[in-house]
Symmetry: C2
Subunit: 141 residues, 2 copies
DNA sequence: CTACGCCTTGAATCATAGTTTAAGGTCAAG
DNA sequence: CTTGACCTTAAACTATGATTCAAGGCGTAG
């Protein structure tokens, strides 16, 4: 009996959050005779996907777009494919930017030996010098 | 004369946002005789760093922690180093998760050939099957 | 039948990250 | 000396993503 408490435990999400996702149109569980939400295994999977995507900064709106066509039942996945393509390049961009930031932080840390003298902390300058004009809204449309 | 409008243009950020960051303690520009904020090149660099980190889902609170010690003037960078180390592993985790998500999306797209028959959209299942129990709060503490 | 844990709803509240508004000061150009 | 572009402040407002609250229904154990 996959009621909301159970899927909450299994997905690691808060039951209130799951209801909230439903209000936002990301889920549409069937109901038992008593009115309780009744989830299936696909819903649990969708929640895991949702949880992962969310942790990576993808908005609920975007996740909704990715989940929607499959939730509506069997119909052409063309739109989903296009969206997936779009998100794919946004994810690639994000990975590149994270790598750049990682490089910056690593550089800061490797300065340990030379920076024992401890003048001005090199973070800002070493960090910012690597930045040109990064697009403001990664992953948003 | 680096007044707020100028640094806004140069950093690609909104002047109101920059004032907001200051209210949140991320910046502390000096003032001109007339009360106008007076920024230096380091501030512009800090704003670029801030802008990049922000785009990658790092919270203002976390960015503040990274900027703080250097903003306070010349003093030991030990704390910053530790924070940087911490953020480094968080960034590594985030990159791994994004790669996983990218893999999922790529898989979905490569199904194009076989999925011409168009049964249920494979997104959710193929996506969710790759997820085990991802920690909910990447990059938060 | 009562207690307890789980479920329902709508509404209020919260945090984060800003934007907008109102009322006003600064300053160079014409 | 007014116009216009810029700056100041505090406070109100917005959106997103939830969490909490109040009032109540369901279902099983004792």
């Amino acid at each position: 009996m996959l009621t909301i408490g159970n899927v909450a435990k299994r997905s690691g999400l808060n039951a209130s959050a799951i209801r909230y996702y439903e209000r936002q149109g990301l889920l549409r569980p069937s109901r038992l005779q008593n009115g309780y939400r009744d989830y299936d295994e696909d819903a649990v999977k969708a929640l895991h996907f949702l949880s992962q995507a969310k942790a990576l900064g993808i908005t609920l709106k975007e996740i909704k777009q990715l989940l929607e066509p499959s939730r509506d039942g069997r119909r052409p996945c063309k739109a989903v494919r296009e969206l997936a393509h779009q998100h794919l390049s946004e994810i690639d961009l994000k990975i590149r930017q994270l790598r750049s930031l990682r490089h910056t932080l690593r550089k800061l840390l490797s300065d340990r030996a030379t920076a024992v003298s401890d003048d001005l902390c090199p973070l800002i300058s070493s960090a910012a010098n690597r930045v040109t004009t990064s697009a403001p809204s990664a992953l948003s449309q």
